[in-house]
Symmetry: C2
Subunit: 397 residues, 2 copies
């Protein structure tokens, strides 16, 4: 067998811990809170089909041809309109790039800014695929402490002082993956200020902001940006359909232009049919009403999950109580090996994602992520009971 | 204005020569042979619409949900079947990864193998976006001479001896972009042999192989690979529809697995609707018959173009006479500055892509690429006359 001489960017064998976990959790007798999928029963299949029909009727040839690297103009305009309305983020057409899912925005920003050895500041814990992407470009991570109001700005400023070479701060300010936490308004203002002061870029990743089932909306960090240091990214994956792979970046024109050059190398342009279908969908449907439906359902599921936590979990277990999004975060005291705990829970036919891979630095033992968006109500009830039993057993060992 | 501190991977300002050229060529009074688009009038819009209808009827929710990083299994099976039938490339399911256009395959292979400073051997000239991608990962290029039968194997072996550190050989063996040349059978065998002997990988990029309007099919380099050193990539962009962004890589399972990890970081997975639509299309339509239609039309257009070349071009001009694909390559003797020549031709309302950006090393002055797939017959006739006149003028200066 040939032994392949991969580049330094390629992770070593056996490092895909989450892949292994998701595979284990896919066993049909297991109730899994491990995944991160939206509820498919709410996908607007019929309306999207009508949108696709319309696109084929009006521009069949055009959608099958090569398209523009920056994306379909009509969609970029609608995205601008929406981020203005929802997030108070303003921009012109040249400030928007459509990407193949917002995952690609992470990839392009990582590629455009992170030289091998560059420091990237991340929330502790943070979205694990972002860690993977930045790592693939050679990032050194510095974790920044969080609390219930998100990344702590005093901790960030200390980190910026200790790492004057820092290039990028990555944040998921709303209903963060994995913790469900939301960054407070004052901290957002402060973050934009610190970015300018320390000349560091902020990548604001906001897939979940619109999925709010409680509390008041908080505008984007980008809305406080006066210097172009903040790059804002969003996606239709959680509000409409992840399978279409449609995300975007809003940033300074100079940044968008360079990201576009890299986008061309990466995949030339984003799927035309998907882009035009969303344009048509947005013309004829009320996305806000649809998002409200999603938020309501997720709110109910979150409530069931926290009820289960209260009822079945041992004393002393801490958990976050998100006002939106798809995840909550549990911390079980006294656990030494979260992967061991995961295995025990599998024996009770219930699964989650252990917290370890979400940490750039030292993981916090006993922490794990639960997803509530993609489980039916009866599964949540039964699953939380099983999980509680598994944790009680653990406590008795 | 903020001055952004981009990574070393980002090309400097003002280096997008081809962008500038394509913009100039987009003026409606100009007859452009500069682009690289398939003929949209042959896109099977109706059949594709029916396929999409079928997909929504059978699996609307599924296509809107997140999908697998490796791609839709049914499509990967159909791709395997087709590369076996057309190219004598054999493999199992674990040897195929679907990509977001074959452009993404270039990106993933570049990322997975090219460390900064690594040597990549390329045909001289070669596909310019491949140069861009590999450059973005820090490649050093070594150009390998070509003739009418493709990359010269004696030149390649010399280059391999001179560069024992070489990592990758990139080739477009069929109807190459930009020259239209095809690599001879014996050279393909030799290339697979040299790859194993010098432990260097071959990336075989075959978007055009099926679009043959003359001569005998030549099987893929990959079909001679006994050691896993050859990675084969293909696309539906030229046989079906580029707008859907569907390509693939066929390689050793160990390679496919690592590319899949990077694919996950790059965009999680490829558009589901597009993948399932092509599965349905292939079930109910004869792709071979469709490809024959494309090839016939392109053959007619190529013939018109070479007629024009014979009739209007000055003595001494050389050109390739491809048996398939979308491009031919012209060499005008005595020209010093091809971009100057391009500007003169623009004044005669006709455009091409100057050869310079297709060269990793020293460009050959007076060479340029002509595209015939995306011009109507009367445009080709008129455009070749105008181009001939522009070149005659040039000769008289
Ligand atoms: C925080 C965060 N960012 C980005 C993404 C990527 O999503 P997509 O590429 O579907 O837009 C996800 C997906 O789960 C996420 O949780
Ligand atoms: C040689 C070559 N490789 C790869 C590509 C990328 O095509 P796609 O991403 O549409 O499959 C092209 C497109 O023109 C090409 O000419």
């Amino acid at each position: 067998m040939t032994k392949f001489n991969f580049s330094k960017r390629v992770p070593a064998d056996g490092t895909d811990a989450v892949g292994v976990i998701l595979k284990a959790a896919a066993d049909p007798k297991i109730i899994s809170f491990a995944g991160g999928l939206p509820a498919p029963e709410l996908f607007p299949v019929k309306a999207m089909k009508e949108a696709v029909d319309q696109v084929f009727a009006e521009r069949g040839q055009e959608v099958m041809q090569y398209g523009a690297a920056k994306g379909v103009t009509a969609l970029r305009e609608l995205v601008l309109q929406r981020v203005k309305e929802k997030e108070n983020v303003t921009g012109q057409l040249d400030n928007v790039l459509m990407t193949t899912g917002s995952e690609q925005a992470l990839d392009l920003v990582g590629k455009a800014f992170v030289n091998p050895g560059d420091t990237v500041l991340v929330e502790q814990p943070t979205y694990l695929c972002a860690l993977d992407v930045f790592k693939s470009y050679g990032a050194n991570f510095v974790g920044v402490e969080m609390d219930e109001a998100g990344m702590k700005m005093d901790a960030l400023e200390e980190a910026l002082k200790a790492h004057p070479e820092a290039k990028l701060v990555y944040t998921v300010p709303n209903f963060q993956n994995p913790t469900g936490r939301t960054m407070a308004l004052k901290r957002r203002e402060k973050l934009a200020e610190l970015a300018a002061k320390y000349d560091v870029y902020v990548l604001e990743d906001n897939p979940y902001g619109e999925i709010r089932f409680k509390g008041q909306h908080v505008p984007a960090v980008k809305s406080f940006d006066k210097t172009g240091h903040v790059f804002y990214m969003g996606t239709f994956s959680k509000t409409l359909a992840p399978g279409f792979r449609l995300g975007w970046v809003v940033a300074d024109e100079a940044v968008v232009n360079k990201l576009t050059v890299l986008k061309q190398s990466a995949d030339l342009h984003t799927d035309n049919l998907a882009q035009y279908a969303v344009v048509e969908f947005l013309k004829h449907n009320d996305l806000d009403a649809h998002v409200k439906q999603i938020s309501d359902l997720y709110g109910q599921r979150k409530a069931l999950m926290t009820e289960g936590l209260e009822k079945y979990f041992p004393q002393g277990v801490k958990y976050t109580d998100p006002e939106g999004g798809m995840f909550l975060w549990v911390e079980v005291p006294g656990v030494e090996d979260t992967v061991e705990l995961f295995k025990q829970c599998l024996e009770h036919n219930v699964a989650f994602v252990p917290g370890d891979p979400f940490y750039a630095g030292e993981p916090q033992p006993g922490a794990f992520r639960l997803n509530y968006s993609n489980a039916q109500e009866d599964q949540i009830k039964a699953g939380m009971k099983q999980l509680g039993e598994a944790l009680q057993d653990e406590g008795e060992n």
